[in-house]
């Protein structure tokens, strides 16, 4: 079992996401994370899907995805050199005083941005790979996390290679 990152180019049409998500649940494939947004190609979106499974399982996932009419291209970039990022917004308890300073210090070490400061809370924005965000979350837990939201993973190949519709 291995974590795979799929980069999927789809038609930017209503209902595509539910077709994709439905396919995963119906066939018993587990989605770890899914992120979607428009992309460089007109009328297209790119979905980054993280899924866990062995090679045969992944082969089926890819083939079944490819059968959807609105899916233009499926690329498994796991074994290609790529960069991947997630974003998290974390609202943490921060009474004025020493804790607040500590949190700000942690934020700077993790290159997290402080995007809101209230009388009792601070909101941090952090991007990075899953491990980095996990680590920050763990550290902040001691102050009390009031709310945390994370995006799915987005990923892109390094260098000149792309996963565009034409090779």
């Amino acid at each position: 079992m291995k974590t795979h990152t799929l980069s999927v180019l789809v038609e930017n049409k209503a209902g595509v996401l539910s077709r994709v998500a439905g396919l995963f649940s119906r066939r018993g494939f587990n989605i770890e994370s899914l992120a979607v947004g428009t992309c460089e190609e007109p009328n297209s979106s790119r979905i980054t899907i993280v899924v866990i499974g062995d090679d045969a399982h992944l082969e089926q996932v890819k083939k079944q995805l490819n059968k959807l009419i609105d899916i233009i291209k499926v690329s498994d970039i796991t074994y290609h050199d790529h960069v991947a990022r997630e974003l998290a917004l974390i609202k943490v308890n921060a009474e004025a005083g020493s804790t607040r300073a500590e949190i700000m210090q942690i934020a700077s070490i993790f290159r997290a941005k402080i995007i809101d400061v209230g009388t009792r809370t601070i909101v941090l924005e952090v991007t990075g790979n899953t491990d980095k965000i996990d680590a920050l979350e763990k550290l902040l837990r001691q102050y009390g996390i009031k709310e945390l939201v994370r995006t799915g993973r987005v990923a892109i190949l390094r260098g000149a290679k792309t996963v565009a519709s034409e090779k």
Partner: protein
Amino acid sequence: MKTGARILIESLQREGVNTIFGYPGGSVLPIYDELYDSSIQHILVRHEQAAVHAADGFARASGKTGVCLATSGPGACNLVTGLATAYMDSIPIVAITGQVPTSMLGNDAFQESDITGITIPVTKHNYLVKDVSEISRVVKEAFYIAGTGRKGPVLIDLPKDVNTSQLSAPEEEPGPVVLRGYQPTYRGHARQIEKAIGLLREAERPVIYAGGGVIESEASCELLELAERFGLPVTTTLMGIGAIPCDHPLNLGMLGMHGTEYANYAITECDLLLAIGVRFDDRVTGRIETFAPHAKVIHIDIDPAEIGKNKPVTIPIVGDAKGVLRDMLHLLEKRESNSAWLARIRTWKEKHPLKYRDDGLLHPQFVIQELSSLLDGNGIVVSEVGQNQMWTAQYFCFRQPRTWLTSGGLGTMGYGLPAAMGAQVACPEKTVFDIAGDGSIQMNIQEFGTIAQYDIPVKVAILNNMYLGMVRQWQELFYDRRYSYTELPSIEFVKIAEAYGIRGMRVDSAADVRPALEAAIAHDGPFVLDFRIEREENVFPMVPAGAAINEMIGGHQQ
């Protein structure tokens, strides 16, 4: 200016549609109004499930795409079973449904259902059309998708206001279909085909395992030529029956759960399995680890997702069966004879034929054999689901593709009568029989009304055992004969038929079988035969679920 409904009808005509099976309702009224004086024939079924099965039967018998029409909400929902049936068997259908007006979408309006959402898992693709300008393009795409690649059902959902609104600009014929995400591979990879030929040359005990894909790609002739030229025995799936003539010396009949002993033995011992247009379904393979355990596998399929899905494959060939087989025929001149293997198969065939008790009582297998000899390879036979289906698959001699229609993948009781109706409409000159169980026929028996109204001369042969026979068989074999809720009371099907204005005949003895069948065939309208068969007859041989396919009950042990 044209309305949406008008554009729909014209788009259907452009696709060559001449028959629609449907049922009206509020949201499709604009379409019905257009149909009223159009050249398209509409057949009013009695239940929407029958409309989609009829479109399916029409498609299987003719090779064209079947079309059905239903209203929004309940009408659309009644299509689901039929869509799932067609999806599992890769049958091209375009289903058109009405929808509430776009302004009311998502409001839980009267007779609203999210039919595109509901049918995503049972269609190849579907559309919710939001604007009148999209109709002609969507119809063209839908037919293209349904009838190409791995075929399948496509649904088009049309809100009422889209049908009534007018196109502001004059309508143009849609251009060629461009779908970035849909490019089926038809040509098999040349190098793979060469490698496959290499394996075929070396094989000592080759077997062809052919399925519905051969029928859908119209590859029967190529299959036969390949088999004959190289002495390859052929076994077919339930869906592949008819791809090779039943009485051909190389035909091993059906394999799998109720397959012939010789087919299952041949699969178990073969050293090369040439799988064409099949999907290694569990009803075929039994325990997958013991399916063709000594064989290298060549798998030809238009759908790459089927290759390696259930069984690892030595040589995958993605492509259209017809084209791939042609390419193979070009490359392979003649092959060393594998006469020892063919002789071994012949011995199995002689020693372990399909058989049933010959005691003069009314056995269903006898009914089917009699029908088979009367039709003599002509006509179309449709089945319902259960024992009736398996006996027909085993004992009817099919000689041509598209003459055997059955719900293989989903196993839908109630499929037979409406599908037979559709097939008969597609092929008016042929004798069409629905072979039914007394349980299954009652799932869509209201269609007696349709065949009577339009005088569709379908013949219905009910193998009446007063049980849900196949379930009873499982209860007998695996649940200690505890017949929990599988007994059906005696029903006078002839009277039901008569109430609908259809002729019928009850048959209680073996001696009456032939005259009754002859009477039904001779009658030039629909006809219902109620055969009171041996009640506890079983389908044998049978591979118990989860066993290896050479471990059959009711067969010889090798």
